[in-house]
């Protein structure tokens, strides 16, 4: 019986529900490790995996790992709860939870790996599960294409990353992440540094959707919303950020690192922020702001000052919180109203109070209002931007503008949909509790963390920053640092954001005119590249594998003749090859007869004539064998010729006459002639060159000596066949038997056919 079952539409919800225990357990376990990590004693675990390749299954839980792991498990837990309601009635809901938690584990593995290769393994696994989850609604062509696009873009980066890792291993002799900072100076000086850096950045930038690889992320919104909340805002896209943070003490701090990260990060941030203004669909807006946030983090990781890294880590936490909450809200709205277009919804607060509250908290954090963790994040950001080594002004400017735009977006997200006039679409009431409890909890956390910034700084941010900063630092997060430039900038941000919000319609109009007018987009480039490769592949395959046996043979024979001939010409003194042959006249006659026969077969229009020619050739060869002391071979040759003739008489005459064949064109004819003459000449010359030396007859001499004494036979050839080299003969008769079986099967089938 086929074990492959058909799908069950009323699948049992309990496997999915119980799977929530996994992130819960992990979260609790991690929380208990926090004091240890805070006190600077990382938790390590290592097994040998492939010691031959110096690859270990080594895990390390340190500050930065813990920060990520807590985000992963906490949000993973809430998303699992959320998805229980979101995926209700979906025929593949259990598969969904399977993928979700497989992803969760891979992501955890990624941030806990202490071995580059192990990290890569998890890295690719997250790409793979992301692929499966983006394409989860696989009936939609858009989902399928987005999944493929995401996999190819991140896969390409992944492969480059692997190359980078291997080069690091080659230079330093270790894959252990915890040992790499010790090799930093060596790496910085190495001639491969730039290549390594480029490979690593390619991996990080593709995964974290940095310009110019950012386009896959908005498309990945084809995934179910819990996935967008989890993978494509809070965790997987942060893997690139994680990698940059991890590698900061190893590869960071050089001018090229700083310049690349700051410039690309700033550009990505501005780009994402600007595009998000132009969007009206909830998930699309959130995806664009995610790109912006990832850009900001990259930009800060470009710095090497403690404030810059603190900003990166703090903002990572801040963003993960509010963005996952907002995605879940977007899903809840979609779930209740059937649309995610913000222009179609309004006044939802009265129907969905809990969702509204969650949204309010999350957006306030996003906008950076005081008392929310987002505010603290923003303060640190300005401080970090101003301490960048390269382009501090640009960094500060980019931060300012994108923050302001984000404030506007935050307002857009919460004000009109929840508190504006009710629109055409009315929700059917508050979402199921599973769908608002998560966002509300996260929203509450945004507020709560904002009230106890010291605690957050002490337990979460400081250990993380310490892990990635070259020298130990103290991190202090405060609600109020005093009147200084960052505070001023924060104020300006809110003011600018407010004005952006007021002018949002105008901005959106202008941007939506501007964006499609761009001559090229990187997504267009990607699509063009894929299409070009495919059409090149098709063209090439049509040329090479075009079905013409003639062409195949020409290429194969041509390649062989050219390569062998080229080496041959370079090795043999051609003039020495020719010594006028001496041979008896009768032999000359025989050879002339054979040559004529060759000519006849080649030119023959009639099958019978050709067969006669072949007979002459075969008989000529037999005579040669007989004359030159090979009676067995000669006899066999004659008998084989006879049998061939008999079979030919039976088979060949059932085939049609050989049509006189006009060569299709002159080129083909020239090729035929050239190749046949070339190969003939080559074989002749080669044989002559080889026969210049006497053959080493050591082995034959042994046969001659042993043939009678040891093998009891006087016919040495026969003794070779049945004793010295009997294994050859065994194979040979097998060939004969198999040939008969195969031929017989061919013939028999015909007889049984009607």
């Amino acid at each position: 019986m086929m074990a492959i079952s058909t799908h069950n539409h009323r699948s049992n919800p309990w496997p999915g529900r119980l799977s929530a225990l996994l992130p819960l357990g992990l979260l609790v376990g991690l929380v208990f490790q926090a004091p240890r990590i805070q006190s600077g004693r990382p938790l390590a675990l290592a097994f040998e995996w492939v010691p031959g390749l110096n690859v270990h299954f080594a895990l390390l839980l340190d500050g930065v790992g813990l920060l990520f792991a807590l985000i992963i498990t906490a949000i993973g837990l809430l998303v699992t709860i959320y998805a229980d309601a979101y995926m209700v009635g979906h025929p593949q809901r259990n598969r969904f939870f399977l993928y979700l938690h497989a992803f969760l584990l891979s992501m955890l593995g990624l941030v806990l790996s202490n071995d580059l290769i192990l990290l890569f393994v998890f890295w690719e696994l997250t790409s793979l599960f992301s692929f499966l989850l983006i394409g989860f609604e696989h009936a939609s062509a858009q989902a399928r294409n987005s999944a493929r696009q995401a996999l190819l873009v991140t896969g390409c980066g992944g492969l480059l990353l692997l190359v980078g890792f291997l080069m690091v291993g080659q230079v330093t002799g270790t894959y252990a992440l915890s040992e790499l900072p010790g090799h930093a100076a060596q790496l910085h000086r190495h001639s491969l540094y730039l290549s390594i850096l480029m490979c690593m950045l390619a991996g990080a930038f593709t995964k974290s959707a940095q310009f110019p690889f950012h386009f896959w992320l908005p498309n990945a919104m084809a995934a179910p919303t819990p996935i967008s909340a989890f993978l494509h805002s809070a965790t997987m896209v942060k893997a690139g950020i994680y990698l940059l943070a991890r590698l900061h003490p190893v590869l960071g701090g050089t001018p090229v690192w700083m310049t690349t990260l700051v410039l690309l990060g700033a550009f990505t941030a501005l780009w994402g922020a600007a595009v998000s203004i132009a969007r009206t669909e909830l998930k699309s807006i959130l995806a664009q702001t995610t790109i912006m946030a990832l850009g900001i983090m990259t930009m800060f990781l470009g710095g090497r000052s403690a404030p810059a890294l603190t900003a990166a880590m703090t903002f990572l936490l801040v963003h993960s919180l509010y963005k996952s909450a907002l995605f879940m809200v977007a899903g809840a709205i979609d779930h209740q109203t059937g649309t995610r277009e913000i222009e179609k919804i309004g006044g939802l607060a009265r129907f969905m109070p809990f969702t509204a509250a969650a949204t309010l908290f999350a957006t306030l954090s996003m906008a950076g209002f005081p008392l929310f963790i987002g505010f603290i994040g923003k303060e640190i950001m300005y401080k970090g931007a101003l301490t960048e080594d390269v382009f501090p002004g640009l960094a500060a400017g980019a931060t300012l503008v994108s923050n302001a735009l984000m404030t506007a977006v935050a307002a857009t997200l919460v004000l009109r949909p929840f508190w504006g006039q009710p629109r055409k679409v009315h929700p059917s009431g508050e979402a199921p509790w599973q769908m608002w409890i998560g966002p509300l909890l996260i929203g509450g956390t945004c507020l709560g963390f904002g009230l106890i910034p010291d605690w957050v700084g002490h337990w979460l941010v400081e250990p993380a920053v310490r892990a990635i900063h070259v020298t130990p630092v103290d991190v202090e997060l405060k609600l109020f640092y005093g009147f200084n430039t960052p505070l001023l900038l924060s104020m300006i941000t809110i003011l600018m954001g407010g004005s952006f919000y007021v002018f949002r319609r105008w901005l959106r109009r202008r941007l939506s005119q501007l964006l499609p007018a761009l001559p090229i987009t990187t997504e267009g480039l990607y699509e063009g590249l894929v299409a070009a490769v495919i059409s090149f592949a098709k063209w090439q395959t049509r040329r090479l594998q075009n079905g013409s046996l003639f062409q195949y043979l020409v290429v194969i024979i041509g390649a062989t003749v050219v390569s062998v001939g080229w080496v041959f010409l370079g090795s043999a003194p051609l003039s020495a090859l020719w010594n006028p042959p001496e041979f008896p006249g009768w032999l000359g006659l025989l050879l002339i007869a054979m040559l004529m026969a060759i000519g006849i077969v080649v030119q023959a229009r009639s099958r019978v004539l050709a067969i006669c020619g072949l007979g002459v050739i075969g008989a000529g060869a037999a005579i040669l064998f007989l004359v030159f002391g090979a009676p067995d071979v000669g006899l066999t040759q004659i008998l084989v010729e006879t049998l061939t003739l008999i079979i030919v008489a039976i088979v060949l005459l059932r085939l049609p006459p050989i049509e006189p064949q006009p060569d299709a064109n002159r080129l083909q004819h020239t090729l035929r002639l050239t190749l046949s003459i070339g190969s003939g000449v080559l074989v002749s010359a080669f044989l002559i060159a080889v026969t210049q030396h006497d053959v080493d007859r050591t082995i034959t001499t042994f046969y001659e000596q042993a043939s009678y004494i040891q093998a009891h036979g006087r016919n040495i050839v026969n003794v070779i066949l049945v004793d010295f080299r009997s294994l050859d003969t065994l194979g040979e008769i097998t060939v004969v038997a198999v040939s008969a079986l195969a031929a017989r099967a061919l013939i028999r089938k015909k007889r049984s056919a009607p």
């Binding site: 019986m1 086929m2 058909t6 799908h7 995996w49 492939v50 390749l53 598969r95 393994v121 394409g135 009936a139 399928r144 493929r148 996999l151 190819l152 896969g155 480059l160 692997l162 291997l166 290549s195 490769v533 592949a537 395959t541 049509r542 079905g547 046996l549 195949y552 043979l553 290429v555 194969i556 390649a559 062989t560 062998v564 080496v567 041959f568 090795s571 043999a572 074989v683 080669f686 080889v690 026969t691 030396h693 053959v695 080493d696 050591t698 082995i699 042994f702 010295f724 080299r725 009997s726 294994l727 194979g731 097998t734 060939v735 038997a737 198999v738 079986l741 195969a742 017989r744 061919l746």
Partner: protein
């Protein structure tokens, strides 16, 4: 002296004899064939154990010492290949039991099948070049018989190309042998190594080496000699094409590795440089060819070519790590590729066709089948922690260490395109909703005979991936043996030789 080496040849041949004598008893033939395959697998495993324990094993067939008689030699490379042969032989025998109607399986099928397995084993074991030619012929003839088995129209078209081009390769091989014998006076590979290393007229030997490269290159599907492969591999019954896909080109690769690590070592600067270029082109051409296809088995066929490129790359780089990579790649690829062909058969059963545009919906309808495809497909694409990842890692790492950065870049690019192809099949056959049209949509329920070997092979892929260390160690030992041919030569010829 250990007769252990003959069993991988003897058992399949004896099974073939048995099935010939049971000509009128198809059911008995079937049982015998399965027993024979299992016995062959067991023999291969025993031999593997012996080699791992005691090093290179040599059997002087007929008790005639090398280089006079024919020696069978089992080193790590040979036994690894043999082990996979045993696994694939058993797997495809099981699959064939489920796939083909009894009428198709009678009348010599089992004899051909077993002879093919025996011939492949012989080719992996022999230490004599002419004997290798004979085993090649055995393989070739059996494969001729099998590729036309069932006698569909497309099979004839494919078979004509397959037969003509492979015969050309055979004749080329034989011609090369003739010239090599004329130059050295010996056929034993260990002895050839000695003779060539002590000879002055290297130019002619190099030219002969290129002749062998072409002959084996045709078999292996090397650029630009591969045309027969995509023309024919998608035509025969699934079990047969799976066995071919897993084994036949790899016999060619094996022969290339063997000869270019043992016999033709006098001018590696020329030969291995040409191999390197050919390997790169093979990878690229194959993967591009796959990207252009829309039929399940044709995509897989073109991928054989591109993956052969990876293996040749390992040989061409000529470092221990690279060779270990080539060997690992061989083991991984044989299992995975055969499995993918078998999965294509299950998919055809479930959707009635192998043309991707007409397929679809398997992901929803047959999730278990989706898993069975997913594992080998993404292993082929090199995703960790499956076997293909380590294979790819080794090849890339060795090309980086050899500072052949272009080659590494090509390997990476080809890897990416492999992902593309596998994703294409996944999307078209599994994710896409099943289209309403279809020329011959007649789904059937595949039998357990077909599912079991697919599961087993997928499990092996998974195991090689997660427990890569033992396989890597074997590959590494094999590579070290290949890099130090003196060990092989001493094992075969004894202390001094003639």
């Amino acid at each position: 002296m250990t007769n252990l080496l003959i069993y991988p040849i003897l058992l399949p041949f004896a099974t073939a004899v048995g099935s010939l004598l049971l000509w009128r008893r198809p059911a008995l033939q079937q049982t015998l064939s399965l027993i024979g395959s299992a016995g062959h697998l067991a023999a291969c495993l025993f031999l593997l154990a012996a080699v791992v324990q005691d090093g290179i094993q040599v059997l002087a067939v007929g008790n005639w010492p090398a280089p006079y008689g024919i020696s069978l030699v089992a080193d790590h490379l040979s036994v690894l290949m043999l082990m996979v042969t045993g696994i694939l032989g058993t797997a495809t025998a099981l699959y064939a039991r489920g796939e083909m109607a009894i009428s198709l399986r009678s009348q010599g099928f089992h004899a051909l099948f077993q002879v093919l397995i025996g011939g492949i084993s012989g080719a992996f074991l022999t230490g004599d070049l002419f004997n290798l030619y004979v085993w090649f012929e055995v393989i070739l003839m059996a494969s001729f018989g099998l590729i036309i088995w069932g006698q569909g129209r497309a099979q004839f078209v494919g078979a004509v190309r397959y037969v003509v081009i492979n015969l050309l390769a055979t004749l080329l091989f034989l011609l090369g042998l003739a010239l090599l014998y004329g130059l050295t006076g010996t056929l034993n590979m260990a002895h050839l190594h000695q003779q060539i290393m002590t000879q002055e007229s290297h130019g002619l030997v190099t030219a002969v080496a290129f002749m062998f490269m072409a002959a084996f290159g045709i078999k292996a599907g090397m650029f630009p000699l591969f045309f027969w492969l995509p023309a024919s591999y998608h035509t025969p019954p699934i079990a047969i094409s799976a066995l071919f896909a897993g084994m036949l080109t790899k016999v060619g690769v094996y022969a290339l590795i063997r000869t270019f690590s043992l016999v033709f070592l006098h001018d590696t600067a020329t030969t291995h440089a040409v191999l390197l270029v050919a390997a790169g082109l093979t990878m690229v051409t194959g993967v591009l060819g796959a990207a252009a296809q829309n039929e399940f088995r044709r995509i897989l066929s073109f991928h054989i070519i591109s993956q052969v490129g990876y293996m040749l790359l390992g040989l061409a780089l000529w470092t221990p790590l690279a060779l270990a990579g080539a060997v690992f790649y061989l083991v991984h690829h044989m299992i995975v590729k055969a499995n993918l062909f078998l999965v294509s058969g299950l998919s055809r059963d479930c959707s009635g066709t192998l043309e991707l545009p007409a397929m679809g919906g398997l992901y929803g309808a047959k999730p278990f089948l989706a898993v069975l495809f997913f594992i080998p497909a993404f292993s082929l694409a090199g995703f960790p922690p499956l076997s293909g990842f380590w294979a790819k890692l080794l090849v890339i790492q060795s090309s980086l260490e050899a500072e052949h950065y272009t080659v590494a870049a090509v390997a990476v690019l080809v890897g990416l395109m492999t992902v593309y192809s596998m994703v294409k099949i996944w999307i078209e056959a599994f994710w896409k909703p099943s289209p309403d049209f279809g020329p011959d949509q007649r789904a059937i329920v595949p039998s357990a005979w077909k599912i079991a070997p697919v599961c087993a092979l997928a499990l092996i892929t998974l195991c090689i991936g997660i427990g890569a260390e033992p396989v890597y160690q074997l590959a590494d030992t094999a590579a070290r043996e290949l890099m130090a041919p003196q060990v092989y030569v001493r094992a075969v010829l004894g202390g001094a030789g003639p």
